[in-house]
Amino acid sequence: MNVLHISSGKVLTVQIESITEEDYKQIKRSVYYFDWKREKEHNVFKLSLLDDSHIIGLISLKNIDSEERIEIRLLAVSKENRGRSKIFEGITGNLIAFACRDAINRYGSNGCVSLYPKTALRQHYIDKYGFIDSGYHLYIEAMPMFQMIKKFEL
């Protein structure tokens, strides 16, 4: 798993780990936008550069075993990685690919990842990550999911 350091063009290795109680103390709304403590009952993961404690992305996942599906409840990159002046490229892609890996890991060929998109953002998730429109949900499974896993080297 890698991200691109935009200004230098260097490709850097990243890691994704479960969040700890200690991490919650450092996760501020001013940097990660949402109140992440509200996600404690779900599976929250952090993305950081290898051997670096600074979190550059967060994702909250909910396993829906009865439907063999993982729902992305929430995702945010750190403040310095938003917009035109962002430092790294690929944080969101890595986090979504991680959810795809988890879905395959748990549910095999039936695995699926879904999210509820904001209307204005819907087409971007479809174009950039291969999500499919099912109405309220966007979802990804099978080939587009395999491609995400391959692209982000999980």
Binding site: Y33, F34, I59, E67, R69, I72, R73, L74, L75, A76, V77, N81, R82, G83, R84, K86, T92, R101, I104, N105, G108, S109, N110, G111, C112, S114, L115, Y116, P117, K118, A120, L121, H124, Y125, K128, I132, S134, G135, Y136, H137, Y139, E141, A142, M143, F146, I149
Partner: protein, 173 residues
């Protein structure tokens, strides 16, 4: 910063590149959403080929191996022999055919599956090639290594047998 302010500061593409927001659907809408998704997935699954299903299942096995190798625990269920058995079952009804496909003696395969012998490097590389590089040789090798480590650290009989060959043991506290 409210979502309104965010949308003023960033383009929708930049927002999609930075966030997935919480659902704001009502419970009624969520029921409809779940039904829509179920129907869409049913259609998608009809188009899933045997090849794609196999690819997903081999990937699942690879992830199982990777996660197991990261853990500090030894698990007999995930020994080399048992993982190989799972791998073969993904695409073969009989082991004999698999043995023939990687040119392995049937008896040797049986011993590998029953953890009665460990695979050679050649066999491990053939497994990688057979999986179309989806499960790397290094993963198979590390499975074997983990099994060796466990045996070495728990084999009391071997210790008892070898103790008679050791003289002048270090006298330590």
């Amino acid at each position: 910063m409210s979502i309104k302010k965010l949308t003023k500061k960033y383009t929708s593409e930049e927002l999609a590149d930075a966030f997935i927001f919480r659902s704001t659907l009502s419970p009624e809408e969520e029921v409809i959403a779940a039904e829509q998704l179920k129907l869409a997935r049913l259609k998608s699954r009809e188009n899933l080929t045997d090849n794609q299903r196999l690819y997903a299942n081999v990937l699942q096995l690879r992830f199982m191996i990777e996660d197991y190798l990261k853990s500090n625990q030894f698990n007999q269920e995930l020994s080399f022999g048992n993982i190989l058995r799972k791998y073969i079952a993904l695409n073969y009804k009989i082991n004999k055919k698999f043995a023939s496909d990687i040119q392995l003696d049937e008896t040797e395969l049986s011993q590998l599956l029953n953890n009665k012998r460990m695979p050679s490097e050649k066999t491990i590389v053939r497994l990688e090639i057979h999986s179309n590089n989806l499960i790397p040789a290094v993963s198979w090798y590390k499975l074997v290594e983990k099994q060796h480590e466990h045996l070495l650290s728990t084999d009391q009989q071997l210790r008892d047998q070898q103790a008679v060959f050791v003289k002048n043991k270090l006298s330590l506290l």
